[in-house]
C-alpha cells in the first residue's frame, strides 16, 4: 500500500502464455528426434524457436494478443503453412476443461525442461536449457501456475474459455468506455450508434501508432523530458547547401503490420485482455518515450493517451504511465495536463522509479524529489517561462545539495546554463547567485556571462567526476557554444591584470567539440552491454510481415528500407540513440561554428554529414535544422529557384514539426527574395509574420526577435525610409547589447553603416563600419568582416575620388575571403565596387584596361541575375553601358542599356512571377 513499492517483475499466467507454452511443447517435444514430427527442416524448427523468443521479448504493445491475432501472427511468421500447428494449438486449448487438466498440462511442461544435470543428455535429444531465454520463460510459467490459489486456477480456466471462444472476426466491443467517459455527452443518443465511430478512431490511432519509429537504445529514463537539455545546439543562420537526397525515414514505417495486429483491444476485462509482462510493458513505455523525445508530434496525443489510460486502468501501480502522459502532453503543448501529470508522477514515485544512473541507496527512504524539481524546471523552460524555470531549478540545486545527489546537481546545473543560453535574462543576481556559485559568497557580483561560465565549469566538472558520459559530452558542446559567442574575461577583476586578448578562441571551440565527440569511443567499446534485446525482438516480429525469401533473418529486404535494416543488423554493436543524437548535435554545432567563422564549404560539409548519417538518430528539430542550413546554403550560392524546390522537399519531410525551423527558413527565403525583387509590401508582410513567431515574453526567443528586427530594418532601408530604418536598427542594437548578443551586434552595426551609406551620410557611417569590423575581429567572424570591409570601402569611395585607391586596397584585401567563401550577392557586390573604384580613380585609364572592369561587371551581372537582384543588376549594367560608351562600342552599349532598362522596369513594377 502506501510507501511500499511493489516489486517489479511479477509474472502472471495468462491464456496467451498458455498458448505459447503449447507451442513450446511443439518446439521441444519430449521425444528424441533432432527434427520433431511436423517440421520439415531444421531451419523451420529454428524459425519457430525464434518466433517464440521474439514473442516473449518483444515490447511493441502493452496487451497480449488475442487468440486470432496470435494465430495470424503465427501464420505470418512464415513457413508454417500447414494447419497442423493451429489445429493442434486450438485443440490443446479446448482440451483444458477442468482445473485438473491444467495441473496435468503444466506437469507435462516441466518434462521438456532439461534437468540440472543436462550434461548427461544425448546430443540428439531436444531439451530446453534451464537458463536459456525460453527455458526461463517456461520455468516462470510453471512457477506462476504453481503459486496460483484454487481461485486463481478457476479464473485462469474461465479466461482460457473466453480466449478460445472469441470470434476471429473480433466483434465490435459492446460498449466502450470512450475517450472521456465522464464528460462526453454524445452518448445520450445511443451507445450502439457510436460504435462505428469508435472503431474508426481506434483504427486511425493504430495507424498512427504504427507510424512510429522504433528507437533502440536504453536511456536513463528521466532524461526524456529534457529534450531541451540535449539539444544544446542552436543556430545562427548563415548560408548552406542542400542535398535533395534524403533517407526515407518514416515513409516506409506504415508498411508492416496488419490492422488487427495493432488494433487496440477493448478495455472490457471480461473479454480477456491481459497486460504483457512487466518487462515488456516497461520496454514499450521506454520506446514510446524515445519516440516522443525524438519527434513528439509523430505520436498522436489522444491515441497514445487512450493507450496510457488503458494501461493505467490495468496497472494502477505502474506510475511511470503518468510520466509518459506528462511527456505526451508536453510534446503537444498542453501545459496544464503536463503540469498535473508531472506532479502526479513524482508524488507517487518519489523520483525513485527509473532513474537509472543512481544505484539504489538502501538506507535512503527519503525519495528523490529533487529530480521532480529538475523536471519541472525543464518543463517550465520548455513552455517558455524562464523565470519560473530558474526559480524551480534554483530550488533543485538547493535540494540536491542537501540530499547530496551529485548526479542531479550536475544535470540541474547543465539545465540552468542551458536556460541562460537560450533566454536573455539580464540579471540573475537576485534569483540565482545566492545558492550556488562559489564566488558570490565572496561578495562579488558576476555578470550573466560569467555566471554562465562558472555554471558550465561546475556542471562539467561534476559530470566528469561522476562519469556521466552523455552529460560530459553535452557539456562540452555547451562549452563550445559558449566559447563561440563569448569573449572570456577573467572572473576576478582585481589583482594583477592578466594578459587579456579580447577575442574568442576558435581553438577552444574545436577542442570542446572534439572532446564531446570522444563519447562515441566510450560507447563503441561497451556497446553490447547497452542493447535491449526487446527492441531487437520487436523489430524481428515486425519484419516477419514482409515477404520472406529464405528462412534466415530478413536481411535481404535491405534494398527496400534502409533504416530498419540498419537498426536490425547494427543492433548488437550499435551505439545508443541518445549518444548518436549528441554526436549529430556536435556536427550541427560545427556547421554553425564554421558558418560564423566564415567557411561555407566546411559548414556545408558538416550539415551534410548530419543530414546523411544522423537523420535517423537525431531529433526531428535537429534534422530540420540541418536541412535548413543546407537550404540556406543553396539559396546563397545557387539562387532561389533551387532553394525553393529544396524547401518543398523539406516541408514534406518535416510536415509535423509545427513551429519549426523550416517555417522560419521559408520566411527568411521569402523575405530575401522579395527584397531582391523589390516587392517591398510582400517583404514587410513576411517580416511581420516572422515577428509573430517569437514569444511575446521578454527575454525569450531572442534569436528570432533579433532576426525579425534586422529584417524589418532592411525592408525599411530598401524602401528608402532611412530615418525609420536607423531608429529600428538602433533599438535593435540596444536590445542586443542589453542581452549580450555580441555576434548579432556586429551585423546590426554593419546594417547601421549601410543605412548611413545609402542615406548619403558617409561620415556618420564610417564609425559604425569600423565598430562592426572590430566586433568581427574579436569574434573571428571572417566572412562578416569581409562584408564590413566592403561597406567600409564603399564609404571611403563615396567621400570622393581621392579615396579610391584606399578603397581599392581594402577590397583587394578582402577578396580572397569573399571569393573563397562568399555567396553570390557578396561576390557581385565586391565586383561592382571594385569596378566603381577603378572608374572613379583618376589615374585609371579606361580605354587601356577596360577588360578588368568589364570582366568584373559581367561576372557580377550574371550572378545577380541568378539572384534576381534587380537593383544591383541594373547598377552593373549601367556601369557596363558607361564603360562601353567611353570605349565607343555602341552596339554593346545598347545591349547593356537594354538590360539595364529591363531590370529597372522589373524593379519598379514588381509582380509575383511565382511563389
Amino acid at each position: 500500500m502506501v510507501g511500499i513499492f511493489i516489486q517489479p517483475g511479477a509474472f502472471a499466467i495468462t491464456p496467451h502464455k498458455v498458448s505459447v507454452c503449447i507451442l513450446l511443447k511443439i518446439y521441444a517435444p519430449p521425444g528424441l528426434r533432432a527434427v520433431p514430427y511436423p517440421f520439415i527442416s531444421i531451419a523451420q524448427h529454428n524459425r519457430l524457436g525464434l518466433f517464440l523468443l521474439a514473442l516473449t521479448k518483444s515490447c511493441d504493445d502493452i496487451v497480449e494478443p488475442k487468440l486470432d491475432e496470435f494465430i495470424h501472427q503465427f501464420r505470418v511468421a512464415g513457413g508454417f503453412s500447414s494447419h497442423w500447428y493451429i489445429n493442434h494449438l486450438t485443440s490443446s486449448l479446448s482440451s483444458l476443461l477442468s482445473p485438473d487438466d491444467l495441473f496435468n498440462f503444466f506437469a507435462e511442461m516441466r518434462g521438456i525442461l532439461a534437468g540440472p544435470d543436462s550434461g548427461v543428455v544425448e546430443d540428439d535429444q531436444l531439451m530446453l536449457d534451464l537458463n536459456s531465454n525460453l527455458g526461463i520463460f517456461l520455468r516462470r510459467c510453471v512457477l506462476a501456475f504453481n503459486l496460483l490459489s484454487f481461485e486463481g486456477v478457476c479464473h485462469l480456466l474461465t479466461n482460457i474459455e473466453i480466449y478460445r471462444k472469441e470470434a476471429p472476426s473480433s466483434c465490435p466491443p459492446y460498449e466502450q468506455p470512450c475517450l472521456d467517459d465522464s464528460s462526453s455527452n454524445l452518448e445520450t443518443c445511443s451507445e450502439y450508434e457510436n460504435m462505428d465511430l469508435e472503431n474508426f478512431v481506434y483504427e486511425k490511432v493504430s495507424e498512427e501508432i504504427e507510424a512510429r519509429k522504433e528507437a533502440s537504445e536504453k536511456v536513463p529514463f528521466h532524461l526524456h523530458a529534457p529534450k531541451t537539455l540535449l539539444d544544446l545546439v542552436d543556430d545562427i543562420d548563415v548560408p548552406a547547401d542542400l542535398v535533395s537526397k534524403h533517407s526515407e525515414k518514416g515513409r516506409q514505417a506504415g508498411s508492416y503490420g496488419d490492422p488487427t495486429n495493432n488494433m487496440l483491444p477493448d478495455t472490457d476485462p471480461s473479454s480477456g485482455t491481459f497486460l504483457r509482462t512487466n518487462w515488456q510493458v516497461q520496454g514499450y513505455l521506454q520506446e514510446q518515450a524515445d519516440t516522443i523525445e525524438k519527434d513528439g508530434s509523430s505520436v498522436s496525443l489522444n491515441g497514445f493517451e487512450i493507450i496510457l489510460q488503458q494501461l493505467q486502468k490495468m496497472a494502477p501501480e505502474l506510475h511511470r504511465v503518468h510520466f509518459l502522459r506528462y511527456l505526451n502532453s508536453q510534446s503537444h503543448d498542453d501545459y496544464i495536463a503536463a503540469l498535473e501529470n508531472l506532479h502526479c508522477y513524482f508524488d507517487y514515485s518519489a523520483g525513485t522509479e527509473g532513474f537509472d544512473f543512481v544505484p539504489p541507496v538502501s538506507s535512503n527512504s527519503y525519495g528523490k524529489y529533487e529530480i521532480a524539481l529538475l523536471c519541472l524546471g525543464m518543463m517550465q523552460f520548455h513552455f517558455g517561462h524562464p523565470k519560473l524555470a530558474l526559480e524551480v531549478l534554483t530550488e533543485a540545486v538547493r535540494v540536491s545539495q542537501q540530499q547530496s545527489n551529485d548526479t542531479c546537481l550536475a544535470y540541474t546545473l547543465a539545465a540552468i546554463s542551458n536556460l541562460l543560453f537560450e533566454n536573455g535574462i539580464s540579471s540573475t543576481s537576485k534569483m540565482l547567485g545566492l545558492s550556488y556559485s562559489p564566488l558570490t559568497s565572496v561578495g562579488i557580483t558576476l555578470s550573466v556571462q560569467q555566471q554562465l561560465f562558472v555554471l558550465l565549469r561546475g556542471s562539467l566538472k561534476r559530470a566528469e567526476s561522476l562519469k556521466l558520459k552523455r552529460l560530459v559530452a553535452s557539456n562540452h558542446l555547451a562549452m563550445a557554444k559558449f566559447d563561440l559567442t563569448h569573449v572570456q574575461r577573467p572572473l576576478l577583476s582585481f589583482g594583477p591584470k592578466a594578459f587579456m586578448k579580447l577575442r574568442t578562441c576558435p581553438v577552444d571551440v574545436c577542442k570542446e567539440i572534439r572532446l564531446s565527440y570522444h563519447l562515441i569511443s566510450d560507447f563503441g567499446s561497451e556497446g553490447s552491454a547497452m542493447t535491449v534485446d526487446g527492441a531487437f525482438s520487436t523489430a524481428w516480429l515486425k519484419n516477419l510481415q514482409k515477404p520472406m525469401g529464405s528462412l534466415v533473418l530478413s536481411l535481404e529486404s535491405g534494398s527496400s528500407n534502409s533504416s530498419n535494416v540498419f537498426q536490425f543488423c547494427a543492433q548488437p554493436t550499435s551505439i545508443p540513440g541518445s549518444v548518436l543524437q549528441l554526436l549529430g548535435s556536435s556536427y550541427l554545432l560545427r556547421a554553425t561554428a564554421w558558418e560564423l567563422y566564415g567557411s561555407a564549404p566546411l559548414s556545408r560539409m558538416n550539415a551534410l554529414v548530419h543530414a546523411t548519417c544522423f537523420a535517423d538518430a537525431s531529433s526531428s528539430s535537429d534534422a530540420a535544422l540541418a536541412y535548413v542550413k543546407l537550404i540556406q546554403h543553396l539559396a546563397v550560392f545557387k539562387g532561389y529557384r533551387g532553394a525553393f524546390s529544396a524547401l518543398k522537399i523539406a516541408e514534406e519531410k518535416f510536415l509535423s514539426v509545427s513551429k519549426s525551423q523550416i517555417l522560419l527558413c521559408k520566411l527568411q527565403l521569402l523575405h530575401d527574395c522579395a527584397l531582391h525583387r523589390g516587392q517591398l509590401k510582400l517583404a514587410q508582410q513576411v517580416c511581420d509574420e516572422l515577428r509573430v513567431l517569437a514569444s511575446p515574453v521578454t527575454g525569450v526567443d531572442m534569436q528570432l526577435k533579433t532576426e525579425a528586427g534586422l529584417r524589418h530594418a532592411r525592408t525599411l532601408l530598401a524602401a528608402s525610409q532611412f530615418r525609420e530604418a536607423a531608429s529600428v536598427a538602433h533599438s535593435l542594437f540596444c536590445m542586443c547589447y542589453g542581452y549580450n548578443l555580441q555576434v548579432e551586434n556586429a551585423s546590426v552595426l554593419l546594417l547601421l553603416a549601410e543605412i548611413h551609406k545609402k542615406s548619403g551620410n558617409a561620415v556618420v557611417g564610417l564609425p559604425y563600419a569600423l565598430a562592426s569590423l572590430s566586433f568581427c575581429q574579436s569574434f573571428n567572424l571572417d566572412l562578416l568582416k569581409a562584408s564590413a570591409t566592403l561597406t567600409l570601402a564603399e564609404l571611403w569611395l563615396s567621400l570622393g575620388s581621392s579615396h579610391a585607391t584606399r578603397a581599392l586596397n581594402l577590397i583587394h584585401g578582402a577578396f580572397p575571403m569573399i571569393l573563397g567563401h562568399g555567396g553570390l550577392e557578396l561576390c557581385s557586390r565586391a565586383y561592382i565596387i571594385e569596378a566603381k573604384c577603378y572608374l572613379s580613380d583618376p589615374n585609371f585609364n579606361v580605354s587601356e584596361n577596360y577588360e578588368v572592369v568589364i570582366d568584373s561587371l559581367r561576372q557580377a551581372s550574371d550572378e545577380l541575375q541568378l539572384l534576381e537582384y534587380h537593383e544591383m543588376a541594373a547598377e552593373a549594367f549601367y556601369l557596363m553601358a558607361m564603360v562601353y560608351d567611353k570605349l565607343g562600342q555602341l552596339e554593346k552599349r545598347e545591349e547593356a542599356a537594354a538590360s539595364f532598362k529591363k531590370h529597372i522596369l522589373a524593379l519598379n513594377n514588381p509582380q509575383d512571377k511565382d511563389d
Partner: protein, 589 residues
C-alpha cells in the same frame, strides 16, 4: 391567511407526506430496496407527530429532543417555506398483487437470505412487475457480490483489480429493450440507470434516473445515484425535475457535495420545518456545519444524535474529527469504544480508532487502523488524508505524499489533501514546488484563512523570500476572518520588512486592537507597541507615541528600557511624564 389556517395547511402537508412515505416503505420493502426503505422510514418518524392524536409513547423518539436545537435555533433565520411552490402530487403507484404469486414469495425469501442467484433463478419465467424487478435486482446484487470476491482474488502485482460485475452487460441489454418497449417501471429505470452509470455512460444514466425520480420520487437510492452524477452546478441546473418534497432533500445533498454550504444549510433548515426530528437531516446539517468549521454546534448536534440513536455508526467519523480538533481525548475514546462494540468492521469505526491513537500521539498504531479502514473501503477519502497526516507526523514524507496523492486522485476537490501535499513538500525544503499544491487547495477553499496563511508562509521561507506574494496571501487570510490572528501580525511584520512603514503601522495597530479585544498578551503586543511608538515618533506624533511608550512601561525586560529611551529621545523623559516615570526610576521591580 390566518395562523390557524396556515397551521392546518402545514398539518395537511405533513399528513400527506406521512401517508406517501408509508406506502412507499411497503413498496420498497417488497422490492428488497432495503436501504431506501430504511431512509424513508427514518424520515417518516422524523415528521413531528400531531400531539393530539398520539399518546406519549408514540413520540418516545422525539421527546426531549431539542434543548440544543432550540439553543442554536435562536440565532438562525427561521426558514420559511418558499412562497408559491406548489408540489406536484405524484400518483401513488398501484401494485398488481394478483400476478405475483408464490414464486415471488419464495424468491423474496431467498433474497432475504442473500442467495441472489437462487432467487433470480426462481423468478426466471415470472412476468409480474415486482417479480421482474426482483429478478434483475437479484442478478445485479449477485454480480456485485462476485465482484467483491474477485476483487481480492484478482489483485495483481501492479495493483490491477478491475473486477467487474459480469451481470451488467446482460442486464443492460434486457433493461434497454424493456425501456424501448415502454414496459419499464420506475424501479427498473433505477436499476437501468445504475447499470449505465457503472458502464460509464453517465449522461444516459442521468436521463434514465431523472425519469425514474419523476415517476416515483420516494426511492432515495435513485436520488443519491443522481446526485453522484451531478459533478458540477451546471449539470445540476440542467436537470428537469418535478417539484416534489423529495427534490428538496436531493437539492440539499447536491449543494452539500458541490460545497455550496450556505445553500445546503438553508435547504435543510427549510426541510426541518416538516421533518424536525429527522436524524438524517440533523446529521447532514452537522456535516455542513463541520465544513463551515462550527465545531461547537457540530459537537452538540452529535451528542444529541447519539442520545436518540446510540448505535449509530454513520457519520460518526466526522464527530471523531471534531473531537480530535477539540482535543477531547476521553470523549473520543468513549466514542471509539462505543462504535467498536457496535460494529468493528466498519471503515468509520477504524477511522475513529485511528483518530484516537493519533490524538494520543501513537502514530504507528493509528496508521494500522487507517489501513484497516482502507482495506474495508479503498476509496475512503478521509482515511487516506488522515493517514497522510500521520505519516507527516512520523516524518515519513514520501509515504505521506503517496497517501495524499491517492486521496486527491479519488476526489480532486479535497482541499485538505492538496494542503497536505503542499505541507509535505515544504517540510522537505521544496517551498517552490509546494506552492503548486497550496495554490490548488486555496483555489478549492478560498475562504479558509489557514490555507492562505500556509501559502504565505511558504512564500516567506528564506529560500524564496517572495515577500510581496506573501503579503498578498496574508491579506486574503486576514479578509477571511483569520481565527488565530496570525495574518495581521505577519502583514505588519512583512510590511515593515519591505519598508512600507505606513502599512506596517496600520496593521500593527489593527493587530493590537484585536489583541486588546481578545485580551491576549504576549510578545506580539510588545512588538506592536514598540513599532507603533517608534513609528509615531518618526511621524512626529508625539502624543500617540507617548501613549504607546507608557503602555510599554508596564512590561519588564529590555522593552521597558527601549520605551524609556524613546521617551527620553522625545524630550519628555521621566521628569516630564510625571508619576509613572518617577515610579520606575525609584522603585525598580
Amino acid at each position: 391567511m390566518s395562523s390557524k389556517e396556515s397551521c392546518r395547511i402545514v398539518e395537511r402537508k405533513k399528513e400527506s407526506c406521512r401517508s406517501e412515505l408509508r406506502i412507499a416503505i411497503r413498496q420498497l420493502n417488497d422490492r428488497c430496496l432495503y436501504s431506501a426503505s430504511k431512509w424513508a422510514a427514518e424520515q417518516l418518524t422524523g415528521i413531528e407527530q400531531d400531539p393530539a392524536k398520539f399518546t406519549p409513547s408514540n413520540t418516545r423518539f422525539q421527546r426531549g429532543s431539542s434543548s440544543i436545537q432550540r439553543r442554536y435555533r435562536t440565532n438562525e433565520i427561521t426558514a420559511t417555506p418558499v412562497a408559491g411552490v406548489s408540489y406536484v402530487t405524484t400518483p401513488v403507484m398501484v401494485e398488481d398483487d394478483l400476478v405475483d404469486g408464490d414464486f415471488y414469495l419464495l424468491a423474496k425469501s431467498y433474497f432475504d437470505c442473500r442467495e441472489y442467484k437462487r432467487a433470480a433463478h426462481v423468478l426466471r419465467d415470472q412476468s409480474g412487475r415486482k417479480s421482474l424487478f426482483l429478478r434483475f435486482y437479484a442478478l445485479y446484487l449477485a454480480g456485485e457480490k462476485r465482484k467483491e470476491e474477485e476483487m481480492i482474488e484478482l489483485e495483481g502485482p501492479l495493483g490491477k483489480s478491475d473486477a467487474i460485475n459480469r451481470e451488467l452487460v446482460p442486464l443492460e441489454r434486457e433493461l434497454s429493450t424493456l425501456r424501448k418497449n415502454g414496459t419499464i417501471d420506475p424501479f427498473g429505470l433505477y436499476l437501468y440507470g445504475l447499470v449505465l452509470k457503472q458502464n460509464g455512460s453517465e449522461s444516459l444514466a442521468r436521463t434514465v434516473l431523472e425519469e425514474s425520480v419523476n415517476n416515483y420520487p420516494w426511492n432515495w437510492n435513485v436520488w443519491s445515484e443522481l446526485q453522484s452524477l451531478c459533478t458540477t452546478i451546471d449539470i445540476l441546473n440542467s436537470l428537469n425535475l418535478n417539484n416534489h418534497w423529495m427534490k428538496d432533500f436531493f437539492l440539499a445533498s447536491a449543494y452539500q457535495e458541490l460545497r455550496m454550504h450556505n445553500e445546503a444549510l438553508a435547504k435543510y433548515q427549510y426541510l426541518q420545518g416538516t421533518f424536525c426530528y429527522s436524524n438524517y437531516i440533523q446529521a447532514q446539517v452537522a456535516k455542513v456545519q463541520y465544513s463551515l468549521r462550527e465545531f461547537d454546534q457540530v459537537e452538540a448536534t452529535f451528542e444529541e444524535l447519539l442520545r436518540n440513536d446510540p448505535y449509530r455508526v454513520d457519520d460518526m467519523d466526522m464527530y471523531s474529527n471534531v473531537l480530535y480538533a477539540k482535543e477531547s481525548a476521553s470523549a473520543l475514546s468513549h466514542l471509539a469504544h462505543r462504535v467498536f462494540m457496535t460494529d468493528k468492521y466498519r471503515p468509520e469505526s477504524c477511522c475513529i480508532i485511528g483518530n484516537y491513537y493519533s490524538l494520543k500521539g501513537m502514530h504507528e498504531k493509528s496508521v494500522v487502523y487507517f489501513r484497516r479502514a482502507l482495506k474495508l473501503n479503498k476509496n475512503y477519502l478521509s482515511a487516506w488524508t488522515l493517514m497522510g497526516h500521520e505519516f507527516v507526523e512520523m516524518k515519513n514524507t514520501p509515504a505521506a505524499v503517496d497517501a495524499y496523492r491517492r486521496a486527491v486522485d479519488i476526489d480532486p476537490c479535497d482541499y485538505r489533501a492538496w494542503y497536505g501535499l503542499g505541507q509535505a513538500y515544504e517540510m522537505m525544503g521544496m517551498p517552490f514546488y509546494a506552492l503548486h499544491y497550496f495554490r490548488k487547495s486555496v483555489f478549492l477553499q478560498p475562504n479558509d484563512s489557514r490555507l492562505w496563511i500556509a501559502m504565505g508562509q511558504c512564500y516567506e521561507t528564506e529560500q524564496l523570500r517572495m515577500l510581496d506574494e506573501a503579503i498578498k496571501c496574508y491579506r486574503r487570510a486576514a479578509d477571511c476572518n483569520d481565527g488565530e490572528a496570525i495574518a495581521l501580525h505577519q502583514l505588519a511584520k512583512l510590511h515593515s520588512e519591505v519598508g512600507r512603514a505606513d502599512e506596517a503601522a496600520f496593521y500593527y495597530k489593527k493587530d493590537l486592537e484585536r489583541m486588546e479585544d481578545e485580551e491576549r498578551e504576549g510578545p506580539n503586543v510588545v512588538e506592536a507597541l514598540i513599532y507603533l511608538a517608534t513609528y509615531c515618533r518618526a511621524q512626529e506624533r508625539y502624543e500617540e507615541a507617548e501613549v504607546y511608550c507608557t503602555r510599554l512601561l508596564d512590561y519588564t525586560g529590555p522593552e521597558r528600557e527601549t520605551a524609556k529611551s524613546l521617551l527620553r529621545g522625545m524630550g519628555m523623559g521621566s521628569s516630564q511624564s510625571g508619576p509613572p516615570g518617577m515610579d520606575i526610576e525609584q522603585f525598580p521591580p
